[in-house]
Symmetry: D2
Subunit: 309 residues, 4 copies
């Protein structure tokens, strides 16, 4: 089985067409991909000064570009995640000044003093995460996913910190083992990137950081020829989903629902206005992030309500 490694200094900090592929994969082939954590695995202690470790724009290193054979502009790349293994016995979270959902940022500028920096180390053992030795709360289950997954735009190189129509840093917990993620193909080989493993994350990722981990993930890729999607989609046992990323947050929700409704019309024969009215009764929504360069919202349609034909 092909293994694609991740080494400090080798990560991609943009998703775009300009970096050379680090590997080539064949559709159907099972592939192991390593990823570094969002801080390039450089935080090892609660005493680390995150403001020194982070130097923009070199945050959130991705593994990639990975060239998928046969993928061409106008196709869709289907990425199935089989497994995500954490390769360290702890996760890291942090408070980062001028970053997060409840403080001023470089976009929502305020004149108030910033919140303090803080690093926490969260031990991970036997599928459980200890949030803090100092706070007596139940262990958090290990429920890993990739915060960042995407394919290259045609000519743009987008920061690994940003989500968008190409995927990217959506921080959607539905990008997890067992699910298939659909991404657009804009360039030959699709140029797939992945990283930002999370052992756990709350909806919204409110402080801006999840339980960040390095990983070894197992993937399969398929190329759906001549199929164009408008924004990333996800398929799970329970839901079909579309992910919108935008600001303000309502636009992220609009993109997600629009794509979901177009999907219901095109593939399941439900007229778009009927699908609109039906989603208003049965859809589920995940607020994936309220902290990134764009916010991400997942609109989810329960498969149990798909038409029986």
């Amino acid at each position: 089985m092909q293994e694609i490694t991740a080494e400090p200094g080798q990560g991609a900090y943009v998703i775009g067409p300009y970096n050379e592929p680090v590997a080539t994969v064949t559709p159907g082939e099972k592939v192991v991909i390593e990823t570094m954590d969002a801080f390039e695995n450089r935080i090892t202690s609660p005493d680390d000064d995150i403001t020194q470790i982070i130097t923009l724009p070199f945050v959130n290193p991705l593994t990639g570009p990975i060239y998928v054979e046969g993928a061409e502009k106008g196709d869709t790349l289907a990425v199935t995640i089989h497994d995500i293994e954490v390769t360290r016995n702890y996760g890291v979270s942090a408070l980062i000044p001028d970053f997060g959902g409840l403080c001023g940022t470089v976009f929502t500028r305020t004149l108030q003093p910033a919140l303090p920096a803080k690093v926490m180390i969260h031990p991970i053992n036997d599928g459980h995460i200890t949030f803090s030795e100092d706070l007596p709360i139940a262990a958090i289950p290990y429920e890993p996913f990739y915060g960042t997954i995407g394919t290259a735009p045609e000519i743009e190189a987008i920061s690994s910190l940003a989500p968008g129509f190409h995927g990217g840093n959506m921080d959607a917990a539905d990008v997890c083992p067992g699910n298939t993620v659909f991404l657009p193909v804009n360039v030959p080989g699709a140029l797939f990137h992945v990283g930002d493993g999370h052992a756990a994350q709350g909806d919204a990722e409110v402080c801006g950081v999840a339980t960040e981990i390095p990983t070894r993930g197992t993937f399969t890729f398929e190329v759906i020829k001549g199929s164009v999607i408008g924004t990333p989609r996800v398929d799970s046992d329970e839901f079909i989903m579309a992910i919108g990323s935008a600001r303000p947050m309502e636009d992220a929700a609009r993109i997600a629902f629009y794509e979901l409704i177009m999907w219901l019309e095109a593939d399941y024969g439900i007229d778009r206005l009927v699908a609109y009215q039906l989603c208003s009764q049965v859809a589920r929504v995940r607020l994936a992030n309220m902290v990134d360069i764009l916010y991400s919202v997942v609109a989810k349609f329960p498969k149990k309500y798909l038409p029986t034909r």
Copy 2:
């Protein structure tokens, strides 16, 4: 048991201090409250023309004001919902021109032609809802809640269509049987209002209308003296929750998380910055509505992670 009825022509279309109370209740007393549906029970057929039936601002009639004995400014009203019974064998949903999550509105003005009006009648039997005879999908379970619940502001009279710090039209499915809703008291007697029963609703209520029903609900009220909350809160078996309503949607999420974190600090002794970082790992979020005058977001903290003391 006191029963407070709801009659066409008698509903309140604002939540404020200016209407005379329709009833007085005693804390601890079990009370039955009837509510009309959001269209004053006036839609009976898919052929009804909703653009004729709706005349702003007379939409979404509420039952109230209900005077709660002993409630004074600076208190919090705790409303426990025991049961919500539908009093008709169908629910109604609709497409309403210039209203909804995926079209221009009076706020998000567009020059495009409006979407068409449409009414659907959804039969309800034995705890199941039939979305449409024409679309072969599984029945939707009857999972009722109140879309609108609130107490009077001190001097404002707020449209029954709007949510806010006073509660109102939040369309949060957590306002359901088994849960307790906490609302601010700004005037003597709190002046409680409730209505907008939903037999089912998708997160976001994307087309703007749920499965609208008239109800008979059973409630108990308690007054928590000298306790001020910043925005409505909800307590369930599984979660403590805070509901933020604002535009843009990210501000709704900020209000909800801020209140949740202040609650975790004040009542559970978790330092606010630790609570912020913890919520980033374990919180859940419901997007309650993306269609009302303000959007509503519910930030939820799982009780299983509350500190054991």
Copy 3:
């Protein structure tokens, strides 16, 4: 000439149909209206503690309701401002914690500490304002206008701090002597309110407070029968204007431009899509406020480009 006075303790803190009129005016009659400043004239020294003086919701007292004879639902009220005289030799501005354009607020909640409170007294003499004795800058010209002007909604009572379709706290410097403001009539007599005099204000009113003054203004009212507008309009020598108030700010701009374009079509015969394309070449915009409960944007069409017929 009728004079309508403003006394501390007598101001209206909501714009709605529930307060008794303080005066009645006849269309065409010249009327003098006094207004208090936004702090009820209670700040007299830079040492005043504004956090003690302000007690929500009792901020921004308005003079009103003023009953305009003959006005009925479905009409438009045209208010011409002839003159605004300051009735004190100073204006007041302030920093108010958790309020303003560059800090967390009750809507844009942050966990950072609030900015400090601060009061400044700005002497006004001979048509000039001294910003500060400590900062050697040129005098600011006295260019007065009313921050708040509006008519009662049909059933809502809206905080005097909020702008909206009814007018209200728009903080638009175009509401000034020489101009005519058009407001909707929703109730008998229109129930006009005015206040929040500003001796000067920057676009956006970025810290949340202008040079606040008490005034004596001279007005004339006209009732345009059977004419419905969608949002407040203003007519000046140079521009026809529409004011949108909403959040996020782009929705305020959308409302303003939509109304301006509908006006150009209805009254000047320019097809709406041509007007849209024309505004894209010649319109001007004022950002009136970025600090109030809703943001306000003024879309302005230069009269010199109106069709010659």
Copy 4:
């Protein structure tokens, strides 16, 4: 005098570090730069079908990258525009489906049908623009500026349609002859790009398109060593200005005012909180665009209120 030409097929559609410089300039040297219009000069008739001519992402071709000698990361590039000459006797504007301020877009998704496409040709003669032969309105003065001007980010390649901290497609009419624009330097040589000439534009550019022209502009570049700015700045005879680009629009305004206030503190010795309160009295704002990938707002401080020292 060096002349840098612009040819169809040679334009840059991203601003980034990956394209080879098309020219090198020396600080202080006067340079002529040609630019194509936003449609690559391909529209010549009102009968042209803009939906066929536009193929995303190949819209808004820029001239560049231009390498400025001596510029290094951490410097600021000062670009003075001396003159903008239109090189054709007409401008072009258009309605583009799913693009503009008053319709659904790829971000603000709606289910309504799109507005129609439309092209207008606007003759330009003797400094005057004729909007339409069919609409008898006054000529619009030729007041040219560059809609797009920017320098390369360190690792991102940003669409020429997007504004941001690097400048880009801000559509700010203050980027005009006589003014100096300050841009960040993130890479050796700064890699300057310019294009999107406008003969006239309304504030907000509400339909999404201005009077688009190809140009010959005259520029001088200076490098300010070791000077970091947070967002583009502009200096004119009358104002110092900062341009914020973000969504929602209030964040664009926050960025602009924050930068302006930091500038007033750093270079003019006005304490930031005093500057905040002063801007609230005297600042001016231009809404540059409400249609691009990010909205742009210009915060302007009148030089007449700068401290006299």
